[in-house]
């Protein structure tokens, strides 16, 4: 069996491989095969996950959130502190140079932040910094960041997603040329970009290390292959060292093949069911709290998480457990209990169930399993399958009473980016619950951690109690890697290649 799979995979790999630069330990080149190529290598001008991952390699942020402890550690900056709740004073390191030799100083920080914030420049991922108002140079190595209004996860953002561009080089070459030859301070430099094919990263030999540490492997080749079975074939035939986003079955089977292995890495991505509890999409049974509770009891989330997905955990709160503020001891938990679900449905006036449209965009098998569980208590959910962007727009237009979607919080380890995002009466909010909003606003509106936690806890309790949405489980990706590679997964859904090393 294994021989056959290896043979087939070899055939497939030889058929599909464009440039079979042999992967591996011998030539110290890590080949990472992934699905999507970023639409541009100008990080702030795109939102794709692969682009986000590259931002952590080519560039650096001011502070760095330690991947194990979650602690914010000095990185490009030596010190960041609030002088008042809407002002952050930043002191920078003095010994840092960009890949092209340009010195890093306050001008780079001020330029990057003000350039991205400016709405006229129309960066696609402007929201990464748009919570700030402006940056001001206070010395050659010191910057003052004005927030305008309180933004609690500012430290989190400055320690992860907000990376620094070189001002002189960027101004000289402009937005588009920068995307073709990006320059940063990070542990790797972009050595070769061949659009549609691959990207070569070379280790930055003069890297300062900081909180991230220097890269272990000297070269990374990032290749783009659309089809997961082909990716697996590449890995098994030795043309790739690392692949990811495999499903549980593929991971399980990969572990039976010699020379490669698969591990599940839990991520911050949360799957959830969203109910139109406010009735803004019209009249339907989900307006009734008992119906929503019934659905929450009807679905065996544990079974889907364990059997279909593997590696994730069932969630009781509408956030990922490590996120700041994601705790609420008094919130009710919905155990799998079809009898209770039926009883609740009968109390709600639907003893024989009802029919409703059920929208989803990914993991068709999860959606189907949930439809199966709902069918057991008499609810006939009709699947409406859509592309993510189409579904999101439809939700925002109040046309979706019931959906299964997922949210990765943009890798931001703070409730602000998920609970507040979905329940602050924005167009993504279908609950429109003023009590929940009140607590969320109070939590978002302070930087005192204890106050934030207290308010978020209340909000999360109300969301669960009123069953505005049902958090399902966290997502896990299976990573496939060659046995030579020593690589640890992290829940931020980011592949930190500079940490990888050979065994």
């Amino acid at each position: 069996m294994n021989k056959w799979i290896k043979f087939i995979s070899f055939l497939m790999a030889s058929l599909f491989t464009v440039s079979a630069a042999h992967a591996g330990k011998e030539n110290d080149t890590l080949v990472w095969v992934t699905k999507f190529e970023p639409p541009t290598y100008n990080y702030y001008d795109q939102t794709l996950r692969e682009g986000v991952i590259l931002s952590r390699h080519i560039w650096d942020s001011l502070y760095w959130r330690d991947l194990e402890t979650g602690e914010f550690k000095p990185h490009l900056a030596t010190k960041m502190e609030y002088s008042n709740p809407t002002t952050i004073d930043i002191t920078l390191r003095k010994d840092i140079v960009f890949h092209n030799g340009e010195k890093f100083d306050a001008d780079d920080v001020v330029f990057t932040i003000n350039e991205i914030i400016n709405p006229e420049n129309k960066y696609k991922n402007r929201k990464l910094i748009s919570w700030a108002k402006k940056a001001e140079k206070t010395g050659q190595y010191s910057v003052r960041l004005h927030l305008g209004k309180i933004f609690a996860p500012a430290m989190e953002m400055l320690s992860t997603a907000v990376v620094m561009y070189p001002d002189e080089y960027y101004k000289k070459v402009g937005k588009n040329a920068f995307a073709r030859a990006p320059i940063g301070t990070g542990p790797y430099k972009a050595a070769e970009i061949v659009p549609g094919k691959h990207l070569v990263l070379e280790r930055n030999e003069s890297y300062f290390g900081g909180a991230k540490g220097k890269a272990n492997i000297s070269k990374v080749l990032m290749r783009f292959v659309d089809e997961p079975n082909t990716q697996i074939a590449e890995l098994m035939s030795g043309n790739a060292d690392l692949i990811w986003r495999l499903n549980k079955e593929q991971g399980k089977k990969l572990n039976r093949v010699s020379g490669v292995s698969a591990v599940a890495g839990e991520t911050m991505r949360v799957g959830y069911l969203q109910f139109d509890s406010s009735g803004s999409t019209g009249d339907h049974p989900l307006k009734n709290i008992k119906v929503r509770q019934a659905i929450s009891h009807a679905i065996d989330r544990e079974s889907i998480a364990v059997n279909l997905q593997g590696g994730g955990q069932v969630l009781d709160l509408f956030c990922y457990p490590t996120q700041v503020g994601c705790e609420s001891p008094d919130a009710p938990k919905y155990k799998y209990d079809p009898a209770k679900a039926k009883q609740l449905l009968a109390e709600a006036g639907y003893p024989n169930g009802f029919e409703i449209d059920f929208y989803a965009y990914r993991n068709r098998n999860f959606a189907e399993a949930m439809m199966g569980f709902m069918a057991e208590v008499g609810i006939k959910a009709n699947m409406e399958w859509m592309k993510y962007s189409a579904l999101r727009d439809k939700v925002r237009k109040d046309e979706v009473p019931f959906n299964f979607m997922t949210w990765g919080s943009g890798s931001v380890n703070d409730v602000f980016r998920i609970t507040s995002y979905f329940f602050n009466h924005s167009s993504d909010d279908l609950a429109l619950d003023p009590d929940v909003k009140k607590y969320l606003d109070a939590g978002d509106g302070t930087i005192v951690l204890e106050d934030r936690k207290k308010n978020y806890s209340e909000a999360l309790r109300l969301i669960a109690e009123r069953a505005h949405a049902l958090p399902l489980f966290s997502y896990a990706y299976y990573y496939g890697m060659s046995d030579d590679l020593d690589f640890k997964t992290t829940p931020d859904e980011i592949v930190h290649l500079y940490r990888a090393k050979w065994k």
Partner: protein
């Protein structure tokens, strides 16, 4: 029938001729392998679809996530309760395959009926009346032929949403072109026959001429095309379902089963192979039957 013709050979020559023809037809059919094989296989699939509730060992919709992707009987670790294994959600694969036959056949037959009615009506009208009417209908046929079926079907289904009814209607309203073309030329031939002129001469109304003189003489063309269109519709449904726009889960459609098996292609190829083979057999059977009917009903057209 044999007895009748043997008992009264001289009294009823008309009946004798008919019974001779029937005998001849039966002889032709029984000597024709593709009709026997195609018809036999198709008959078996039809019976399987009709008696699905009796034949299926399990409920095709009942899922058990802890028993998912059990392999079929010829592989190790198989479970004798699930001969063809279980799918991605732990549903019995054999039961889904049996119920899937219902959907494939229903789509094939309903589509062929809808498109057959539209196509024959247009074709016979054009062929019989000719002239301007023919020009207009030929234009409609050309317009239809210029549209790529799969793309149009995809677009329409994407607009109205995928469901069994939507697929049947969309395919029914798209696949009438071959009927129209063939019926038109067959009618053109038939309308110049002497018996048609005779019927007109004795003052039969047009509808009567068309229905009782023309139609019976072109109907064998209709049957042959219908079988091909059944196969065509089944394959198109599978394509649409494979692309996620056809029959919606949890209904067991073979195309959908193939789509769901796609991600297991490398390690569990049986997930995609089983419905794939079923689909191929069904389409092959329908096509063989169609070929056979053509040969038997009009051997002079054989080439």
């Amino acid at each position: 029938m044999n007895d009748i013709s043997a008992d009264h050979p001289k009294l009823d020559p008309d009946n004798a001729l008919r019974s001779n023809l029937t005998k001849h037809l039966f002889r032709r059919i029984s000597a024709h392998n593709s009709i026997l094989i195609g018809g036999g296989v198709l008959g078996a699939i039809v019976l399987m679809a009709l008696f699905a509730p009796l034949l299926a060992p399990h409920d095709p919709f009942s899922q058990d996530l802890s028993r998912r992707l059990l392999p079929p009987f010829w592989m190790e670790d198989n479970n004798p309760k699930h001969i063809l294994g279980t799918d991605n959600l732990g549903r019995d694969y054999l039961s889904r395959l049996i119920y899937g036959a219902q959907i494939s056949l229903m789509i094939g037959v309903c589509t062929a009926i809808i498109s057959g009615i539209i196509g024959s009506a247009l074709g016979i009208t054009a062929g019989y009346f000719g002239g301007r009417i023919d020009a207009v209908i030929t234009f409609i046929i050309t317009t239809r032929l210029s549209m790529p079926i799969v793309l149009v079907a995809l677009a329409v289904v994407a607009l109205v949403g995928g469901s069994l009814h939507a697929v049947i209607l969309v395919l029914g309203f798209l696949l009438w072109d071959r009927y129209a073309v063939v019926m038109r030329s067959a009618t053109q031939q038939a309308r110049n026959m002497d018996y048609v002129s005779a019927a007109r001469a004795i003052g039969c109304p047009t509808w009567r001429v068309v229905l009782s003189e023309i139609f019976p003489n072109v109907v064998n063309n209709l049957i042959v095309i219908a079988t091909f269109e059944v196969a065509h519709a089944i394959l198109l449904e599978a394509s649409l379902s494979f692309l996620g726009l056809g029959v919606q889960p949890p209904d067991p459609s073979w195309g959908l089963m193939i789509a769901e098996g796609k991600e297991f292609l490398l390690f569990d190829p049986w997930v995609i192979t089983i419905p794939g083979i079923a689909l191929s057999i069904l389409v092959l059977a329908v096509n063989m039957l169609g070929d056979g009917i053509r040969d038997v009903s009009a051997p002079e057209n054989r080439n």
